[in-house]
Symmetry: C2
Subunit: 124 residues, 2 copies
């Protein structure tokens, strides 16, 4: 499905860099990992993202949809509900994001310890 052309993350002008920035963006990564468990509604995502504003969530979801990472499905009930779900494209990267978040949570203690003991490096 993907082209033979390969992106270059180290080139700021390359779309590949933009894609990388997209999935590692502040709220996008949280949303993507959330959706591993299955399709979610707006209100679910908002609550589970922990502290995101309406504006940022909307922008994040639109960016992800535009990039082909999630789908948006409107259920015309009353009141209307909307479901967001991962695409196959996204499913190729969620495991790495999950791994990243797990790692951060497991090594929080190490990190804090380093920050505490990190004072100015020893000099005369």
């Amino acid at each position: 499905m993907q082209e033979s052309t390969r992106g270059n993350v180290r080139d700021p002008a390359c779309p590949g860099r933009q894609l990388f920035d997209l999935v590692t963006a502040r709220w996008a990564s949280l949303v993507l990992v959330d959706l591993i468990a299955g399709p979610q509604r707006w209100s679910e995502l908002r609550r589970r993202a922990g502290g995101v504003s309406d504006k940022m969530l909307a922008q994040t979801l639109r960016d992800l949809e535009a990039g082909g990472l999630i789908t948006r499905t409107v259920h015309t009930s009353r009141p209307p509900t909307v479901q967001y779900a991962l695409t196959d494209l996204a499913r190729g990267v969620t495991s790495a994001l999950q791994h990243l978040q797990d790692w951060a949570e497991q090594h929080t203690g190490d990190y804090v310890h380093h920050r505490d003991t990190y004072e100015s490096s020893p000099q005369p």
Copy 2:
């Protein structure tokens, strides 16, 4: 080595979130993947990061060092050279970062295609 306390990435106030933000930061992720190949000097990192400013590189490296993800070694030659290297802590996360970048580069084509065909969703 790590504490039994586990961080929570979804809590903006938790250090675990800060750690996650640190490793996914714009330049930090590029630097960390660069260092997989082995210790690098300032000038190497600056060139390979592709478009980073002195200020941002310095800030990134200081943050990574403070967090215990890289070490900084000064070789007092003339002119002085400085080497940066991964710590064991960092080595637990570089593979995920590498995977993320590989994925972004491999699927750049899909991403661009979606952005092109993504116009306003079809409505009446």
